[in-house]
Amino acid sequence: MNVPAKKRFGPLLLIAPAALLIGVFLVLPYLNIVLMSFRMPGQGTPYGPGFTFGNYGKFFSDFFYISQVINTLWIGFLTTFICLVLGYPVAWQLARGASAFRAVGYALVLSPLLVGIVIRSYGWTILLGNNGMINRTLIGFGLIDRPLGLMYNSLGIVIALVHVFLPFMILPLMSALQGIDPSIEAAARSLGAGRITAFRRIVLPLAMPGIQAGCILVFVLSLSAYVTPSLIGGLRVKTMAVSVVDALIDTFQWPFGSAMALMLSLTGAIMVMLFARLTRMKWKAN
């Protein structure tokens, strides 16, 4: 076959910029982390000479780390679920509500993103702390006599993460709901479906791509969140992301930190795949 060189290399040239970008910024760093996770721990250095499976061994042999993974996943699930439940009505109003509300509502949903995540998380410590506004108000009204444990636990982290990531649930949901013609729902009603049936059989399946996108975004962001869990969880509750940073920076264990980071990525990826599979099946069954 006599294909001119130009024709053969043309397509390759076209994808080269994208390939380069992905290669340099995603693949290489990832490979470096994978490599790092097999290195020997060092004494006074980030890592020592030679390679080992020991980092993974340490991770799996200590229930402390496994339970940390479970707790991180649990925080991710809860945050995602609460964001979905809270975000759906807002997204619906933004998609279908009166136009006057829509402009204001859209601005309100986006406004938290304009404030830095550190400031927002710090704001929550002021509200949630033992001497914080919520506890003081409740004590002041005589509703409780000892402060509720709102901080330094998973509950506080979930509360703050929901606030931080809610826009990431609302925006994809909103765009999915906007794509559903209101007369489609009206048609279902005219055919004898009540509001709930019309929602379940028609609106929900059509909104599913948006629900999927929003859930995956929030879940992944929750798993990898660092600032909020470290500020709210303090020393008492640590998510995986916090532990990874501890290992890398505080205790200077790069190989073990890398192994933990990879385990976090892996469990997150498995969860996302399971979720995508589950929701897709639900959609087809309709």
């Binding site: 007369s183 489609i184 009206a186 048609a187 279902a188 055919l191 004898g192 479906a193 049936t197 309709n286």
Partner: protein, 364 residues
């Protein structure tokens, strides 16, 4: 009360629940004055009725109230005597066809058609036979596994129609169903829908702003302006005997001829036209004259007619439209068959039979 489909007890072509719909003093007020203002319509069993009017006249709001998507502010809607104003949409037993088809995009044609029957808990095998029948009725046999996006606009509209009919509703409601189709298909669908409606004999309310659609399809037309009914009548009533100037101008083209009222006559540029009814002598009266009611003759014919000059002409194949200037300076539109053609600037005689003038009321 007999069913159209097998399994509901019938083998003949007609269904079925012929429902009489009665709308009484129906009003809808969104808070800025009534959008629909105390309208009353009696729709006979099996009748095809159109709500015709410009956008914002209240026709769609009326349809939505009949369907149950809008609450009536006041008044009653009766299906066979029973007031349904407080019955929710899903319990009203209506079949509705929407302007943009509103098919469920994530379901096949078959699933779309089955939806309403599943809501009614119809047994599976009956659902299957009914779907087969209705697909045959709308000439889409073999399309049951397609998704809406795989169908043309006209096919989607037929699926929408089938989906509304397969549940054997009491009444069929159509909201500008042909507005999104191209001109040729629109004309085909007019005939298709009308034939289908005649065959099944279902009481039908059709909303449109297209007067040709309303005229060709309906038993009766309800013309609405500003939330009120301007006129209810057969298509020929509406066209030949319009209730007022607004109706005359909305439905087709019309010449408004003004004249002074004398003793049972009106003096116009076309001569004295006899009129019946009470019109105070000396007042000015408006008469409607349809362009096709007028005859154009060559001056050489020496016939009885008003002299006029051709200003312009528009040939459209089957017809020619002329703009003419009468001797007195008034302009008049005339539509004729292109058998005899006149050129711009030609002198002609305009003959308008006295019985083709229709009084519209006093000129303001």
């Amino acid at each position: 009360m007999i069913g159209f489909f097998p399994g509901s007890g019938s083998s003949i072509g007609k269904w079925y629940f012929m429902t009489e719909v009665s709308i009484e003093k129906l009003t809808k007020d969104y808070g800025q004055g009534p959008a629909v203002n105390s309208i009353s319509i009696r729709i006979a069993e099996g009748e095809f009725i159109s709500l015709l009017g410009p956008s914002g006249c209240g026709k769609t709001t009326t349809l939505k109230m009949i369907a149950g998507f809008e609450d009536a502010t006041e008044g009653a809607i009766r299906f066979d005597g029973r007031d349904v104003v407080h019955v929710p949409v899903e319990k009203r037993d209506i079949g509705m066809v929407f302007q943009n088809y509103a098919l469920f995009p994530h379901m096949t044609v078959e699933k779309n058609l089955a939806f309403g029957l599943e809501m009614r808990k119809t047994p599976k095998d009956e659902i299957r036979t009914r779907i087969a029948r209705v697909l045959d009725m709308v000439q889409l046999t073999g399309y049951s596994e397609r998704y809406p996006r795989q169908l043309s606009g006209g096919q989607q509209q037929r699926v929408a129609l089938a989906r509304a009919l397969v549940i054997e509703p009491k009444i069929l409601l159509l909201d500008e169903p042909l507005a999104n189709l191209d001109a040729k298909l629109r004309e085909e669908m007019r005939v298709f829908i009308r034939d289908l409606q005649r065959r099944v004999g279902i009481t039908t309310v059709y909303v449109t702003h297209d007067q040709a659609e309303a005229m060709t399809m309906s038993d009766r037309v309800v013309v609405m302006f500003g939330g009120r009914i301007a006129q209810i009548g057969t298509p020929s009533d509406i066209y030949e005997r319009p209730a007022n100037l607004e109706v005359a101008e909305f439905v087709g083209q019309v010449n408004i001829v003004r004249g002074k009222v004398g003793n049972r006559i009106v003096s116009t540029a076309f001569g004295d036209i006899p009129v019946s009814g009470d019109h105070a002598a000396g007042t000015e009266l408006m008469l409607a004259l349809r362009p096709e009611a007028v005859e154009l003759l060559p001056v050489s014919s020496g016939a009885d007619g008003v002299p006029a000059k051709v200003l312009s002409s528009y040939y459209s194949g089957s017809l020619v439209d002329y703009r003419l200037e009468l001797a007195g300076g008034a302009t008049v539109s005339v539509q004729t068959f292109p058998r005899t053609r006149f050129a711009d600037g030609d002198q002609v005689l305009v003959h308008a039979p006295a019985d083709r003038f229709w009084p519209l009321g006093s000129a303001a």
